[in-house]
Symmetry: C2
Subunit: 418 residues, 2 copies
C-alpha cells in the first residue's frame, strides 16, 4: 500500500517551518521527496535560495498536475484556507501547519475530504514535534478520554521560563523569543493565548469529537505578567505556565479553557521549560499519559511536516472517530475556578474585582491592594476577558487541573463570551 | 479503507492482559468487535467466565476460518511463536503482547509477514499503554535518532519506588508488585532485567533498524538491591531506576544496555514512579521527546491491544523503515561506564572488584569495604554478569545517559557476553 515512488512536492510558504522542512529533505535525498516548486508571497524579501527557485503565485502550484502533494506553511489563515480548501476540492493530498486556519474551519475541512476524497494532515499545527494529533486520533480512537491538557505555546512558555530563570522582564524575554524564531509574526497570538486556543480547538475535535468555535473558548494571556507574579508563584513553590485544558466533567460534558496557571512540582508541566510543549492525556482504560517535545522551531516543526508527508504516502488519514455519537461531548463553561489577579494600580485591581464580583477581602494582605485571589465563574471571566486585558490585569488559575470543581448537570449555566 | 464491519476475534490467553482486553470490549459493544472464541491452557484453573466459554486448544482457533483476527496474550514465548508464526503463514492478522517472543524472533516474524501478507502488531509488548512502537515506526520512520532510553519494566520500577517511598525491603516490595498483577509469572524476568531487555531489542529494530539477539545485550537486574543502595542514591539526591538504553555514538554505531542507574531530578525518569514507564527519544531534527504512561496492568495493556486491533482494521502495518541501509546501525559495546557496586560482604565485593579489574581505591570510604565506584568496560560487565548476579553483587550505572563517554571508532573492542 505504501507509495514508494518519488514524490514531487509543492511547498507553499518559506518561513521558519518551510525552511526547516526544506532543509530536512535536502539532507535526506534517499527519501525520494523532491520539493519541485516553492511559492512565497513577497518577491522582494531576501531569501536563502536564489529568486528563480520561487513562484509568487500559490495558485500556480494548485494548478500544476505534476505535483503529487502540497505542503502549506504560510502565516495567513484566510489565504491558507483558500488554498487548502481548493486543493481538497481537487481531491489532492495536502499537509498544513496553520493552526488558526484548521481550528476555524475544521468542519468544512472534514466535509471537503469526505466529499472529494482528498486528504489533509496537520500534525505540525499542534505542539510542534509532538505526535499528539495522531496519538489522539488513531491510538486513542476508541478510548474515552477524561482530559487533555498542556502547554501548547512554545513562545509564551519561553517568555515565562526566562522571566523565572533570569528575572527578565516581560519585554526583553518576548524579544528574545521572537529573535529565536519561536514566536508567530503577530506576538498577540502567542502572548494573548490565541495560538494555544486554536490548538486546543483542534485537539477537542480529535479527543472528544467536539467541533468548537475558537471564539467560544475562554483564553487569557500573559501580556500583563510581571516579576511580581513570578515572585508570588515562587513564594508558593510554584511556576506560572499557560495551560490549555479540555476536561470531561462527571456529567459527560467537556469544558475548554486556556489560561495562565500556577502549578507546583507535582504537575507534569512544572519542568516543561523554554520552547518545549507538554501534553497530558487522561484515558479511561490506559490511564494517565504524558508527552513532551519541542513546540516550536524550524527543524522540530519541519520534522512533523515530514512525518505527515510520509503518512500521506502510506495512506494514513485521520479517522475523526470521536465525532461519532458515542464519544461526542458538549461544551460546558458554567464552572467556578480559583484565580489570582494582579494590577500595579490598586484602583485598577479594585475595578477588576468589581467586574468579577469578588469581595474586597479577596485582596492579598501586604500587597497594597495590587494582588488578589478568589473564586470566579468562567462565564464572568469570559464576559470581562477583553476588558481585563485592555486594563492590563494579569489573571491566572490557581491549583491543578484535578482541582477544577466538579458540577452536577443541573448547576450548569449558559455561557457566552462578550 | 477502514474495515468497519463487525469483526470476530479469537483470543488466545486469558491472564491479566487478556481479561483487561476482554473487559474493555464488553464495555464498548458499539465497536463491533466480538471475542468469539477464547483459548486457554489449563482446563482446571478457576476463571471469571463460565467454562463453556473456553477452548483448551489454541490450534482450534487457528483453524477457524470464521475468526477475522487473532489476539495472542499468553506467557509462554515458545508456544506464542508457534501460534503467531502459524497464523502469519495463513496470512492472518494477529496482535501479540509477548515481548520475549517478539524480541527473539523478530527477523522471522518480519519475513513471514512479507512472504504471506499477514500482519502482526505488538504495541502492548513494550511499555504497556505508551504508543512507543508506532511512534518510532511510523512517526519517526524517516528521522535519524540519537537515543531511545527509558524505564521499560513497571514491576521493577514499582519495587524500587516502594523501597524508596516506604523504606520497604526488596522481598515485601516484590510481593506487593506481584499481588497487584504488575509482575511476570516468573519474577526473574522482571527483576533480572530480562523483560526490559526484550523490549529494548524490539525498540532497537524500530528505532535503529538493529536486529539484535537479546543475549547480546547487557542486562543487570535488581535482585541484589537493598536499603543501603537506596540510601546511597538518596545521599546524592538521586534515585535508582532500571534504565534500558539505545544510544547512537558519534561513529554511527549503537550501544544497547539495560542496567540499574542512579539519576537525579534533572532526568526525565526521576519522577516516573510505581508501575509507570517512561521513554526518552533524542531525534536528529525533532529534538528530545519524552513519553510516559502506565507500563503494566490489565486495562492499560488491554487498551494497547485494542489500539492494535483498530489499527489492523484500518490497514496499518509496521514499516520497519529503519532496516533500510540508510539508517541501519551496528551494535558496539566497547565502552566504559561509571558504576556503583555493593555487596554486604567486603570479601565478596573485593572479589567483584578483582573480576572487573577495579583497584582497591574504588571502595567508598566509610562503607567497611561493602560499596565501591569505578569505571568499567561494558565487555567486562557482560563477561562477569552471571557471576555478579550469582554472588549477589548489586551493580548500577552512575550518571546520566548523556554522560556515556563518546568513543572514536578505533577505540571499539569486540565484545562477547560470557
Amino acid at each position: 500500500m505504501d507509495d514508494k515512488r518519488p514524490l514531487r512536492i509543492g511547498l507553499i510558504g518559506f518561513g521558519c517551518v518551510g525552511q526547516g522542512f526544506y532543509d530536512i529533505l535536502q539532507r535526506q535525498p534517499e527519501l525520494g521527496l523532491t520539493i519541485t516548486r516553492i511559492a512565497v508571497k513577497s518577491p522582494d524579501k531576501p531569501r536563502t535560495l536564489p529568486a528563480e527557485r520561487f513562484s509568487f503565485r500559490a495558485d500556480e502550484l494548485l494548478a500544476d498536475p505534476n505535483l503529487d502533494l502540497l505542503v502549506e506553511v504560510i502565516d495567513d489563515p484566510a489565504e491558507a484556507f483558500r488554498l487548502v480548501s481548493a486543493a481538497l476540492r481537487q481531491g489532492r493530498r495536502i499537509v498544513s501547519a496553520n493552526k488558526a486556519m484548521v481550528a476555524r474551519h475544521l468542519p468544512e475541512l472534514v466535509a471537503l475530504q469526505r466529499e472529494f476524497g482528498g486528504t489533509l494532515l496537520y500534525e505540525a499545527a499542534v505542539c510542534g514535534s509532538i505526535p499528539i494529533i495522531r496519538t489522539l486520533d488513531a491510538y486513542f480512537s476508541h478510548e474515552p478520554l477524561r482530559a487533555v491538557s498542556g502547554i501548547f505555546n512554545g513562545s509564551s512558555n519561553y517568555v515565562l521560563t526566562r522571566m523565572s530563570e533570569e528575572g527578565s522582564d516581560y519585554g526583553p524575554a518576548l524579544a528574545e523569543a521572537q529573535a529565536l524564531g519561536f514566536a508567530e509574526t503577530d506576538p498577540a497570538l502567542d502572548m494573548g493565548a490565541f495560538d494555544p486556543r486554536s490548538k486546543a480547538v483542534i485537539l477537542a475535535a480529535h479527543a472528544f469529537g467536539l467541533l468548537l468555535n475558537p471564539d467560544e473558548v475562554l483564553n487569557l494571556g500573559i501580556e500583563g505578567v510581571g516579576a511580581a507574579d513570578i515572585a508570588y508563584a515562587a513564594s508558593l513553590g510554584q511556576k506560572i505556565k499557560v495551560i490549555a485544558g479540555l476536561y470531561r466533567l462527571p456529567n459527560g460534558r467537556v469544558t475548554a479553557l486556556v489560561t495562565p496557571q500556577l502549578l507546583g512540582p507535582e504537575s507534569p508541566f512544572f519542568n516543561v521549560e523554554h520552547e518545549f510543549n507538554g501534553v497530558a492525556i487522561e484515558a479511561e482504560y490506559a490511564g494517565p499519559h504524558f508527552l513532551q517535545g519541542r513546540g516550536a522551531g524550524g527543524h522540530p516543526t519541519g520534522s512533523a511536516v515530514l512525518a505527515d508527508v510520509q503518512a500521506l504516502r502510506s495512506g494514513f488519514r485521520y479517522g475523526y472517530t470521536k465525532q461519532a455519537a458515542r464519544f461526542q461531548a458538549q461544551l460546558v463553561e458554567g464552572l467556578e475556578v480559583e484565580v489570582y489577579l494582579r494590577h500595579p494600580s490598586a484602583a485598577a485591581l479594585g475595578q477588576a474585582l468589581d467586574w468579577l464580583r469578588l469581595p474586597a477581602q479577596a485582596v492579598l494582605p501586604g500587597t497594597d491592594g495590587t494582588q488578589a485571589t478568589g473564586s470566579v465563574g468562567l462565564a464572568a471571566l469570559g464576559q470581562w476577558r477583553v476588558a481585563l486585558r485592555e486594563a492590563g490585569v494579569f489573571v491566572a488559575r490557581l491549583g491543578e487541573v484535578g482541582l477544577i470543581p466538579e458540577v452536577p448537570a443541573e448547576a450548569e449555566t449558559a455561557h457566552a463570551l462578550a
